[in-house]
Amino acid sequence: MVADSNDVVLECRGLGHSFGKKKVLNDINLSIGRGQIVALVGPSGSGKSTLLRAILGTHPAKQGETLMDGKPYREPSRDRGIVYQKYSLFSFLTCEQNVAFGLKLDATSAHYRFFQFWKWRELRKQHLAAARELLEDVGLGEVENQYPEELSGGMRQRVAIAQALIMRPKLLLLDEPFGALDEATREELQLMLLNLYAENQAARRAGQTPPYTILIVTHELNEAIYVSDRVLGLSQYHQDGKEGATIVYDKAAPVYEPHSPKDVNAFVSQREELLRAVFSNQYIQHHSEYVTFWRDHGLKPAALN
């Protein structure tokens, strides 16, 4: 399933962060392999968002370093896409323009757009066509000329995901992306993520590099187990918890392509394990007890050496 995991995209080495005297993150070591769809769960206040922002690069951690493809970074860049729960779209652009916005900013400069206006117009047409195609792929062909304000929350998040995906980011970060949605819409969008997983699998079967690497932060345990092939638990409930939260759970999750049958038993037992290991303040264990993902797969990514 994750045999190609040794190809590490993102690495966090000894990340630590504090707000004033309050220690939030403590010695986080994490490697994410290309093509993994990773869910990050944790009790509220455990610093999930802080970790995500450090990985995104907008708020670098005070200690430790983050590396992408082996290169350290401390700023956001086009290699890491993000979908937030709120404010995920530019309200002054139509859906189509929103999706094409990244292509515009990334592929051209303001100088080019001004002084080579006619060439830019030609290029713009290609960008918009690519955006329309992607919107149709996520089932939003008919709303391309509407403004985000006119869409439902679920549609907006779809557009936001398309907007991030069109950049082909090395890592796509989703920050509680479906938190504000109703149950039915949430399931539709989870299915959309499973489709991305299916594309990854298809690429693996064809011997190619899987196209999507995703880190999704969620407070919904079910969602985490359902959409990801690897679950991370970030928690302050471990032997060194006063120093801040760290990764206390890291295991593969049973994930299935959209329409294949699912093993509910495996699902339930992992859920119970997670509840105990990550969310329970009664059950304090050594933080490495459930951090077995790489060992389970007989691999040793650079970060763990």
């Binding site: 700023e75 956001p76 403004y147």
Partner: protein
Amino acid sequence: MLRKPISRRARFGLGTASVVLMLLAYTWLSQHRQSTVRREQQEVAVMKVAELKAIENRTERQQEELDKWVTLSKSPDAVDRTVPTWSVLYHEGWVRATSEQGSFKRKEVWLINDFAATAKRLVVGLIVGILCSVVIGLLMGCFDTIDAFMLPPFTLLAKIPTTAVLPIFFVLVQINFKMYIAMILAGMIPTLAQAISASVRKDVPEELIYKAYTLGASRFELIYEVIFKQVLPRLLDAARLQIGPALVLLVAAEWMVAGEGIGYRLRLFYQRTDMTVVFVYVILLGVIGLVVDYALIWLRRWVCPWFGE
């Protein structure tokens, strides 16, 4: 019930009624003034006639005067110009304002001359003022250093009533076209730049900025393509609201020192307590203000269709 909705027809009817009522009130007031003035004139005429008739041997001049007063006592012709009637308003106000006046050497149509002079000052002042405010406001909203540097003087300047600063301008700057522009800038930039900077801070959530970075935006692109476009509708509204204060300032300054322009003409007629041309100017100012306001609202809807009504 509070805020109970009414039909469109009722709304239109009430609106029309209020305007008609206003016009009727003016008509009544002007007629009342006119008849009062004439009655007073008649009373004086009657007195004069009695006085003159008492003289036994009237000189030729006294006889002429008597004839004049007799005519006036029968049909007084005084015209009230403080609240002129509609016909006076038209003949002495509108016609005088829109036909050539003055000696053969310097003939001018007041209305066109005055409005053109004021409009030129106002438009140039507004354009320069808005451009400066947008640049300063965006920079203040984007960079804390610039904000920290500009905010204290702006906060202070914005609190000073701009008309109170007029004497300083008259003394420090020569009274010419540039002075009016400088004045409008001084009145406008502190308020408008602050409004724009506040909008940048309030209406552009950080998430959008981070997102733009992940989409490959440079710093300039971030300011122009994201922040500017996001605050544009608020900016247009804020600029629209600055036109009124700028015009107040301009008319006040013209009233004091100008040789042409709306304020200048209003002062001339005020000195003669002749409201005919004044009323014509005032009504026209109201109409133009209304048109410009709606034009700018329409512009905002056209430029920023996403912003809604």
